[in-house]
Symmetry: C2
Subunit: 416 residues, 2 copies
């Protein structure tokens, strides 16, 4: 088994100022080619901590991947720490020097001494070009194990991992077969789901491991197989999950990276249907779930984010009297919004959301978290009222999931 | 100095399936009360790794915070590992048993043996009630150092940290003074910013440390002071940053958690101005930047997400001939959309975005990443065309920042 350790460097991680997404990306890439990531360590911009951690990582793992601390400013000390760890002086790398100079010229930025210092690297390393940035990546070797140091800027690092680091690792090591497959379910709490599939879980092939991953977008189920030939593992996992698909019906959204929005998109494309939205409390977040997907213009026509009551009337045609009588957060207004969205765009379905996301806005009988949903089609309009939580962020996210699920279930269960 | 180590447990982190946001939250909370987080380790659901890591963490740090692996299903083994580490048998905690039973009843979920097993805890621990979930948190002590184990579900963990863990730590340890303050800048690349403030940086008080944190939303600058009394540190940092505010003018957005959208919101509120949007390629993402902020209805009236050309015409009044002649992504259409958004809502400003987010949609002379922006007010309309990148996600994010900045700069620089 080829193992790796990821080390992310930066005080900003340890004081909770930024979320470390780099290690997630790297872990996924390594796992994909059969490298087992045993540990992810985040440490401070501290020379002693950097040297000790990397020294120990190189002793225990075939591969060590380091990000962060390579910027041109004073707080970046990874390069100096590496030079000391490998007992190597800093020298100017001419190809990096030229690359950085050209980049600065193209952007019209002064090629000052800070930018020039990006070309200094420990003499013993192999320089890896950073096509999209100024700090080069570096590779070091010690007793057959290798260490990559990369800049922490996510898109620069990602590019280097995909085009340079992964091919290098594949060429050097005999890699095993780790297989993971994950499905996404929606609408059943973890404990209920677990009971319902208990028998199925017991019948999983020997050595296959099931994990539950619940969040606001549903419960994901992952099967992992280690050191089983990939084709065989994939076949067995697929067989098991397809049994589950029949059992869970509309609760089974599909294989990751499926989501409520992508599985709905698939249904809309399959049946050549279009949708438009009328959003109040989700405030554009629901539309952005659709439009984040490439190709969404095939089924998504648009959304009216009618945050003010006057916009509900002017652009969606919701009668001001209904708003006055029932309140903006009411099933009546939700229905009128859904109809308006559909008529304005000519879509097959209009979906609406109006609610009290919080923290303020609660009225008598309508606490924060009250959300009304509407759905309209060629010959029907339907609405429902739900109570979520007291967190604005959660209410917006959950309202999006709920709205997507309403339309998805409607299409899923409709008679042909 | 009181130090802490955070340990997050779960194969899903090590295979890159989920981003570890828990450690970020915990690190920030600890830093806030003067605890120095030295390391964040993420490790696998592996009994040996869990026991060894926690044993070593407890030897080296006053405080160890552990999340994950406390769910009711088979893959969760943290509790069993803790029982072994502390040489303690699992016993039923009656208050947890009752709490879980009542929660299940309220939700109408069967109180099955999986849910019941949540009440089993190592005999030697102090149980900490989890108000929002079924897995209790636990506190362990060894030679004056303490270890907290909490469920990995973010909102459950957050609630426990805020109400139980932080007060407990404050009552047990004499804590130092770490002070961090961060400002956000927009519109200057890191190397230019760094040269421009070089003199200022050299004049920072002895022992104060500056860090650069660049991303798509700007470059953040953080000053950190360790072991300086908090009041004194805050005063000196504020003095330094206020000098910078004068130097950087519109590039200085303010103190974190300021963002382009919040600093724009502040200006809109100050001058009693309102805005509405017409979005194409940002697809609701720009609206959601506004509506994610509580109280945004005071200045944000709404958005028309006109993804289809027909919706651009039907709801924003963009003449079909202009779309046909100039293309949906053109400064002419951007201007017409901005005017339409303003007229539909009666807002002071209409802002529009229409572009090619990618991966498809490029036309002759308009590559992926081409985005047009419009801004309209009572007596003017203005537009501009910009080229970003070939990443859909980045183009959407960057278009949002750019649009927010156009309006912000306009209001910032307008004569009174």
């Amino acid at each position: 088994m080829i193992t790796a350790q990821i080390v992310t460097i930066g005080d900003e991680i340890l004081i909770g100022q930024i979320i470390d997404t780099n290690s997630t990306f790297i872990a996924k890439e390594l796992e994909n080619i059969g490298v087992t990531v045993s540990e992810i360590y985040s440490i401070r911009d501290n020379q002693k901590a950097i040297i000790e951690t990397l020294d120990s990582a190189l002793k225990n793992h075939h591969i060590v991947i380091v990000t962060g601390g390579l910027g041109p400013t004073k707080d970046d000390i990874t390069k100096f720490s590496l030079a000391q760890l490998f007992n190597s002086e800093l020298v100017r790398d001419e190809s990096t020097f030229t690359h950085v100079r050209d980049m600065m010229q193209a952007k019209g930025i002064d090629f000052n001494e800070l930018n020039q210092s990006q070309a200094l690297v420990p003499k013993c390393c192999t320089v890896i070009k950073n096509e999209s940035g100024t700090a080069p990546a570096m590779m070091f070797e010690r007793e057959g194990n290798i260490l990559f140091s990369m800049p922490g800027v996510p898109f620069e690092m990602q590019n280097i991992v995909e085009t340079k680091v992964i091919p290098e690792i594949k060429s050097r090591f005999q890699l095993g077969d780790n297989t993971h497959k994950t499905i996404v379910t929606y609408g059943l709490p973890e404990s209920i789901l677990s009971k319902r599939i208990e028998q199925w879980e017991q019948n999983l092939p020997e050595g296959f491991k099931l994990a539950y991953l619940p969040n606001a977008k549903g419960v994901r189920l992952r099967i992992s197989a280690y050191n089983t030939p990939k084709t065989e593992a994939l076949e067995k996992i697929a067989f098991a999950f397809e049994e589950l698909r029949e059992e869970l019906r509309e609760h089974f959204l599909g294989y990751e990276p499926v989501s409520l929005q992508s599985s709905l998109a698939e249904l809309l494309i399959k049946f050549k249907l279009t949708v438009s939205l009328a959003e109040s409390c989700t405030g554009g977040a629901l539309a952005s779930k659709f439009t984040a997907m490439a190709g969404s213009s095939a089924y998504f026509l648009g959304s009216v984010v009618a945050y003010s009551n006057s916009m509900k009337t002017s652009s969606l045609g919701v009668p001001a009297e209904i708003i006055a009588a029932k309140g903006a957060v009411s099933t009546e207004v939700a229905e009128s919004m859904a109809v308006g969205a559909r008529e304005l765009s000519g879509a097959d379905f209009g979906i609406s959301v109006t609610g009290i996301a919080g923290p303020t806005g609660a009225t008598n009988g309508k606490p924060v978290g009250t959300v009304c949903f509407g759905i309209s089609g060629v010959d029907f309009v339907h609405s429902e009222q739900v109570l979520f939580s007291n967190s604005r962020e959660y209410n917006i996210e959950k309202s999006c999931s709920h709205a997507l699920n309403i339309l998805r279930n409607f299409i899923y269960n409709k008679p042909d």
